[in-house]
Symmetry: C2
Subunit: 660 residues, 2 copies
């Protein structure tokens, strides 16, 4: 039976997780100082997740009770399973990366390829782990509640809501610590990044794990699930249509095929991982080789699988469109945010005059990038719709997200080497070690652009598919913008990303302020700290960041969840449909703008640091540091959270559609 392919893939995936994990854990965690630092980071990260999860437990219980009374058992149980697997995915990612960071630092003593091997192995463990947890969770749902769309929706509602809180909470933590550390460290005290005298330095490194790994893990996990659920739900409804009548094996081929595509992605990622090797000076090529080989292998496997399910190649083509669109989005993101191209060069040029022109230029580039990114998306939507209707659009999203394992591997690798660099700096390791981790970090930054492109693109495709699903569930035949109530709905929905982003940005700014004040206070009050004789109180900064992050994630999260419910209750289902479309449109645009202006500012700074326009310490450099700091919460907190926001609003609406 062809279904065995799924089980075999899961087993193979688990086997390779153990293999890669062993490869990583065999490396020594280095000397005592390194272990001590790694231990502080680990404890800080676990402490944060503990506090965060205890708050989320309250949320899960409250929502479960509401779901139970309003919608019954199925939705409640699947919501709980979704929440738990999302939390597990976040914890799993964080738990591996806090072990990989110090081992990567130690391996870097022996050379760049050794460090790459360790960090990328850890990335692969996390990538495979996340996708596997997702599929297993889905299979449980399918077997416990067969043929029940509400169960699938409940499951992804759980996944998405936890993902949102994890993304926002982790994002506030990491950027508040990062900005707070830089504001006093780099700009005032003029000490380098990751200097152990900076009281926020451990918090900054904890942030890499709870924000960039756990937060992003939950985010990508959410993308996989939501894309799969969207495609499966639409596929299930297709049972009786021409498309599936052509299927050879399942009557519900369109329903189950998405999982096969994701399995193909897992197997391909395992193959790709073995091609991630560098002995040259170009680790970036190692990463992009691994990625491209994964794409090729996956497309090959899907081609074969397609013949078991469909008599024509249309759905295969939509998957290819998804993969190509993902690569295109990555390239476009690179065009707007890499210093090899004119936009970032322009920002660096503007920085000669000052911070204000740097900021104005960066804001302009972010806005400009919406055009390139959205154009690619619209082309992908147009052609996948042509080939496979709405199911085709959803499958393009699945094709994009089937690469999640390798994308996650590359994305997680980034914060791990970043952390490794921090540990090397704090432990006073040889400069060579830091150079190696810096090189790996730079390679990761560029490749991470690809990941961002995939996250945004797949969110848009999933959201479009879900929107139609919502309309079907609501029994809507149209969402007519000429109706006044509907237009009001459109405006309300469009407001959500703005309001959400306003709260999140402010939260980072405020928390960074508190941390900066604490760092400054410690420099003043703790004698001998500046001379490096005494250690600062690292824990205080971690506590401040944790408290702020948890407190500040609540309001934006509730805005996102409650708006669709309120609009549905007050204005009805049709206006709610427009409201969701409004959130989708402004969420996508704002998300792209924020991610890319942040990325562009970051790389403009790096360009100046490479010696352009006066190099480090010049007026231009100070301007780019300000730009980079402004961009931090945009690109790493607010921007990527919006991907979850657009999906979550539609899921909430679809889950509660019966009441509108």
């Amino acid at each position: 039976m062809v279904i065995a392919f799924i089980y075999i893939t899961i087993l193979v995936s688990i086997a390779f997780m153990f293999y890669f994990n062993k490869r990583m854990m065999e490396e020594s965690p280095g000397n005592d100082r390194m272990k001590e630092i790694a231990d502080s980071i680990q404890k800080g990260a676990i402490q944060f997740l503990k506090v965060e999860y205890s708050y989320l437990a309250v949320f899960i219980i409250a929502v479960s009770i509401a779901l139970y009374y309003l919608l019954g058992q199925t939705s409640t149980i699947s919501f709980i399973i979704g929440s738990l697997s999302s939390a597990l995915a976040g914890y799993f990612g964080m738990n591996r990366s806090v072990r990989a960071n110090v081992r990567t630092a130690n391996a870097a003593k022996r050379g760049i390829n050794e460090a790459l091997k360790i960090s990328f192995s850890a990335g692969a463990v996390v990538g495979l782990g996340l996708v596997t947890i997702g599929i297993v969770g889905l299979l449980i749902i399918i077997f416990v509640f067969p043929n029940d769309i509400n169960a699938l929706l409940g499951y992804s509602f759980g996944v998405a809501s936890i993902a949102l809180f994890a993304r926002v909470g982790g994002g506030i933590f990491t950027k508040a610590a990062d900005v707070g550390a830089d504001l006093v460290g780099k700009l005032e005290a003029k000490i380098p990044e990751d200097d152990p005298r900076n009281a926020a330095v451990i918090a900054d490194n904890v942030g890499d794990n709870v924000g960039d790994t756990a937060g992003m893990g939950a985010d990508l996990f959410d993308s996989i699930i939501v894309n799969l659920v969207a495609a499966m739900a639409i596929g299930a409804a297709l049972k009786s249509t021409d498309l599936v009548a052509e299927s050879q094996i399942f009557t519900s081929a369109a329903f189950i095929f998405p999982i096969f595509v994701v399995c193909a992605g897992i197997l391909a990622a395992i193959v790709g991982t073995f091609f991630c090797k560098t002995n040259s000076k170009n680790p970036r090529r190692a990463l992009s080789n691994a990625f491209l080989i994964t794409c090729a292998v996956m497309v090959g496997i899907v081609f074969i699988l397609n013949s078991f399910f469909f008599t024509n190649l249309n759905i295969f083509y939509t998957v290819v469109i998804g993969v190509l669109a993902g690569i295109g989005l990555g390239k476009a993101t690179e065009y707007y945010t890499s210093y090899d191209f004119k936009h970032v060069k322009g920002i660096a040029e503007s920085s000669k005059i000052g911070a204000a022109t740097n900021i104005i230029h960066g804001l302009s580039v972010g806005k400009r990038s919406t055009f390139g990114i959205v154009s690619i998306l619209l082309i992908a939507i147009f052609f996948s719709h042509l080939l496979g209707g709405l199911y085709g659009v959803a499958m393009a999203g699945v094709g994009m997200l089937a690469l999640a394992a390798i994308i996650m591997a590359i994305d997680v690798y980034g914060p791990i080497v970043d952390n490794a660099g921090g540990i090397a700096e704090m432990a006073g390791l040889d400069k060579k070690v830091r150079n190696i981790t810096d090189k790996l970090d730079a390679a990761g930054n560029t490749t991470a652009a690809v990941g961002k492109g995939f996250a945004i693109g797949s969110a848009a495709l999933a959201a479009l598919a879900l929107l139609t699903l919502f309309a079907e569930e609501a029994g809507l035949t149209g969402v007519n913008l000429l109706n006044f109530k509907v237009m009001i709905g459109l405006f309300i929905g469009a407001l959500v990303p703005y309001l959400f982003s306003s709260y999140v940005l402010l939260a980072v700014g405020d928390a960074a302020l508190k941390i900066a004040e604490e760092v400054r206070r410690q420099f003043k009050k703790i004698k001998g700290l500046m001379q490096g004789k005494v250690q600062p109180d690292y824990k205080r900064c971690i506590e401040i960041a944790t408290k702020s992050a948890i407190k500040e994630m609540i309001v934006p999260g509730l805005i996102v969840i409650s708006t669709p419910i309120l609009v549905g209750l007050v204005l009805g289902a049709e206006a709610l449909g427009a409201s969701l479309a409004g959130t989708l449109v402004t969420g996508i645009l704002l998300g792209i703008k924020q991610s890319n202006s942040g990325g562009a500012w970051d790389n403009a700074k790096k360009l100046v640091e490479k010696g352009m326009h006066g190099g480090k310490g010049s007026a231009a450099h100070i301007a780019t540091v300000i730009g980079d700091t402004v961009g931090d919460p945009k690109k790493d907190t607010s921007g990527p959270s919006l991907n979850i926001v657009i999906k979550l609003t539609i899921l909430v609406a679809t889950v509660f559609v019966g009441f509108f």
Copy 2:
């Protein structure tokens, strides 16, 4: 005949224009140095308009030829009349303000009330003049092409396209000169604003006239016309409905009533102007008294007029809703941008840590403000729709915009006293004079918030009304978001404000860079300049600003005009409807965000300059200056231009609807 009311109002308006103009021109333009400076500003402004209008002439001719072949004589002639009256309105405003500035400076020698009298008289001349030009132009169209909606559309298409170019070109000029002057003057050379040693100082003052007066004049002029046309076009279609069947005089009461409301606004503004007096220390109260009295008088007149047209008060109420919403929008804008409230205080607080937190906080406040502003708008839309259907919504817009004369008076007064202060500084007048103009300027800034609220609000109301008009002309019964092509249209339309804003911001940044480099070059190359022995080459900066502004206004302008045509041709009328809605939604949100974050940064700077957090010269002050500079092109170029963008896209679509 009740129609005589319109003619009498026009005559009364012209009489008072002469009266206020005489009151202003009787003031002496001061000593030779003052005259010389005023002369340079005047010449620079006229030179700019000359270059700008010669480019616009090419545009008008090209579009006229296209219109003639595609749509025939009516659209062409009314387009030309619209373009010319828009150009005339811009020129008229600029022409008065360059005479009022130096006279205000001279009057300020004798005291604050004298200066207020001169500057506000000039404002009143411009305000009355603009509204009168608008009404006369509309009457010509109505009489030449009776009962022809296409003529009205052609007319407002002409008005809006010239307004857009004037707003963008003038906006780029003024902010490039302002930012360029500040970047080198305040931040590098540490010389005060308007210091005659700064080579960009005359360009900066020219900018006040071509951007803030001519640009904003064209903008408000556009608002009046588009709101009137929207209401009249919808009113014309109402001929046979219940609403107008109740009318006592005209069968087309709903068609002509909007002009009566605007006339009421003119008469009320004349009354209000006489209440603009101050001998206290609070000139702000003088302005707000004038404004509130105008509102009250207008509502009274409209109440009486209503009884001649309608048997119930519904339409009167929608006008009142428009006025109240306008006031509410002004108050809300003040809440987000005045230093009396928490948001601006928060930005100032963030500035203690640095420019980055100042910027992050300001961006957050701008986003937050969309919620308050849009909520008021949606409530106004909801109730005016309830009272008078679509016509009610349009009439709320007319009610808001009927106050244009007094709003324009207040808005024009601002750049005039700003200029007067510059002239006082450059001519080396007594410090007392500058203090008086500063006080008047500050009062104007706060009251200008009201004007911005009106501009945004009326744009939204007009756009909504026009959108339905477009649908009617296109024969659409629905714009269904569940249709994929329609969704693609929504995305394309939503992109327009982002792309437009990207170009405009970049244009200001680039032009400011060029000007800053020129100022810096002159400081280096011209010996004795810093010591005040030699004059800088003012003309060079004016030339640079003019050239940049003209060159850079073309691409964003064409994006706005060509997008609806392309979407209509490729995707059809329904997708075009969604595209217009997309532009409307993101245009409103982006416009509000940009205007208010800019305003908030500006006032955070002023708060610090009043002594908060270290006062002038402190680190916090430098941070707020950077924030203010970032905000300048947002609040004075890109933000307000978006009001025109949303209306112009719908007008273009409606004019060319026959081809889709």
